[in-house]
């Protein structure tokens, strides 16, 4: 795994391409899920979101996707361009709303599911009804997208037969078609073996430099954070700590949240 960082933790975005969350609040059935969440995500940066179960990590991703009602603001400013407010109906003007790619927490497929990778891909990216045989041009299109994640050979496999790592790569290829401005990944490393994990992280690293993407992912795997993340956000309904991986992982907030004992001079 290469170790690349361009993590200057600038707080202001100036003219750079940037996703800004400011004072974000999400309530579900009256219960606060997220309160006053604010941070910036720059293009070309990989930011990891960590926190205990039920901390609101998935809800935060869904708010950015515009699938949960929220108060506060989420804005995206392309390099040098004017800011676009997400989730705002006036922001949906064609060509201005940023494209958000989403890799969901591994969906489960029955082993016998008669759904091939090609079916799945074509259903998500075209209007061709996949209950009919898929024409060659869509097949080539899907193969080209899968090539981005080195997965051309998976095209005719049933979705249910893929390993955790292979499934993540297929979902990633789908999220990259069309190439988004922001890429959100929900627990991409869970259910993936060590080799698959390295492959996936290398791929993300490759993608952000190739396409200047902002990559935002949730994870429970703290061991690899320092190798790939430019910035880590510790969340438990609110932002407890944000900064470089080493800053967050050595903070008292981190230890307290995960009930770890600190080394010398620490607290329980």
């Amino acid at each position: 795994m290469r170790k690349i960082k361009h993590g200057k933790l600038v707080s202001g975005c100036a003219d750079a391409c940037c996703l800004k969350l400011e004072g974000l609040n999400v309530r579900l059935d009256g219960e606060p899920i997220l309160s006053d969440v604010s941070f910036h995500l720059h293009c070309g940066e990989i930011v990891a979101l960590i926190g205990p179960n039920g901390a609101g990590k998935s809800s935060l991703l869904r708010a950015i996707l515009g699938q949960l009602p929220y108060s506060g603001s989420i804005t995206f400013s392309p390099a040098g361009g004017p800011a676009i407010r997400l989730g705002d109906p006036t922001g949906t003007v064609k060509g201005t709303r940023p494209l958000v790619g989403y890799v969901p927490q591994s969906p489960t497929f029955d082993r016998g599911d008669p759904l091939s990778v090609l079916d799945f891909f074509t259903a998500a990216t075209s209007n061709w009804p996949v209950c009919l045989p898929v024409p060659t041009r869509y097949r080539e299109q899907a193969a080209a997208c899968l090539a981005r994640v080195h997965g051309e050979d998976l095209l005719d496999k049933p979705m249910g037969s893929l390993s955790g790592g292979q499934l993540q790569r297929v979902l990633l290829a789908l999220a990259l078609d069309p190439v988004p401005h922001i890429l959100l990944l929900d627990e991409p490393l869970s259910g993936v073996d060590v080799e698959g994990e390295h492959q996936l992280l290398d791929m993300l690293d490759e993608l952000r430099t190739q396409y200047d993407l902002s990559i935002f992912l949730t994870t429970h795997d703290f061991a690899t954070l320092e190798h790939f993340a430019d910035k880590v956000v510790l969340l438990n309904k609110q932002v407890l700590k944000a900064g470089s991986p080493s800053e967050v992982l050595s903070s008292p907030e981190f230890y307290r949240t995960f009930h770890l004992r600190m080394g010398k001079g620490g607290e329980e």
Binding site: R62, L65, Q67, V100, G101, Y102, P104, P107, F109, R111, G112, D113, P114, L115, S116, L118, D119, F120, T122, A123, A124, S126, N127, W128, P129, V130, C131, L132, P133, V134, D156, P158, G160, S161, L171
Partner: protein
């Protein structure tokens, strides 16, 4: 249209296919050729989205709709049943969306309420339930050309629905949030699909029979899943199995005098057993 059909059937070498007689059997055969692909097609999605219990509940609600239609004095209680089933399907989707309960529990709540309401209404004032017995078994031989035309229109409508929204519906069942992120209106997809099942189940109940109608929505695709490796094969096997078993079941019921719906279901069960023994190894 019907003249052309009768002309074609007359060419068949069967006892009932002789010119100028047994029109009920010829009508029934045409009805089976329309109903079976319809159910074969819907079946793929019922099984894929794990809604087999839901379609069963819809059958029960259709009977309740008939009872309501009958008590309100409609000459054709089927339409009251269609309206009731559609309301049932929409209401179910709304509750499922807002409730923290799992689907099967919500279905159980709706299903038992509908059945109780149906029995309550149909036995109100000490009336006998027996007039509804024919609905439980169904009678395909009573179908008339007008009804076949209606079913054919519905088959066309479902084909159109499949062409337009099969992809979106399939993605919605795989992962609602992923589908949403790609612009799919998940709630609407699910609602339109359950309304489609509601209409089809209600309109064909009279001929297929309430007790076995759900088997037509489960068995074709369940058998197809045993062997299919992609969506095209899945649809092909499901529709083909439904049509072959539909025709075979009707023939058997003619020669043995048994119920057509039950005969078709038994053929489908055999079809399932065969495909199970030839199932793919994954």
């Amino acid at each position: 249209m019907m003249q052309l059909w009768y002309f074609l059937v007359d060419l068949l070498p069967f006892e009932w296919a002789q010119t100028g007689s047994m029109y009920f059997m010829k009508n029934a055969l045409l009805a089976v050729l329309v109903i079976s692909p319809l159910f074969g097609l819907l079946s793929t999605m019922v099984v894929h989205s794990r809604m087999s219990f839901f379609s069963d509940a819809l059958g029960h609600s259709a009977f309740t709709g008939m009872a309501i239609g009958a008590i309100c004095g409609f000459g054709e209680p089927t339409w009251a049943a269609v309206v009731f089933a559609v309301v049932f399907a929409v209401l179910f989707n709304l509750v499922r969306r807002r409730s923290a309960l799992t689907s099967d529990t919500v279905i159980g709540v709706f299903s038992s309420t509908a059945v109780a309401l149906g029995i309550f209404i149909s036995t109100l004032g000490g009336r006998s339930f027996t007039k509804f017995n024919s609905l439980l078994i169904g009678d395909i031989l009573s179908v008339d050309p007008g009804k076949i035309g209606l079913l054919a229109l519905i088959l066309l409508a479902v084909l159109a629905l499949w062409a337009v929204s099969f992809n979106h519906l399939m993605l919605s069942t795989v992962h609602p949030a992923l589908a949403g992120s790609r612009g799919v209106k998940v709630f609407w997809q699910e609602t339109v699909f359950s309304v489609a099942i509601a209409v089809v189940v209600t309109l064909s109940m009279t001929w297929v029979g309430l007790l076995v109608i759900n088997s037509l929505l489960v068995l074709p695709a369940a058998s197809a899943r045993n062997t299919a490796r992609n969506m095209t094969q899945y649809h092909l096997f499901s529709v083909l199995g439904a049509v072959v078993c539909g025709v075979a079941g009707l023939m058997t019921s003619y020669y043995l005098g048994s119920s057509a719906g039950a005969s078709i279901t038994l053929y489908l069960a055999v079809w399932f057993a065969l495909s199970f023994s030839a199932r793919k190894k994954v």
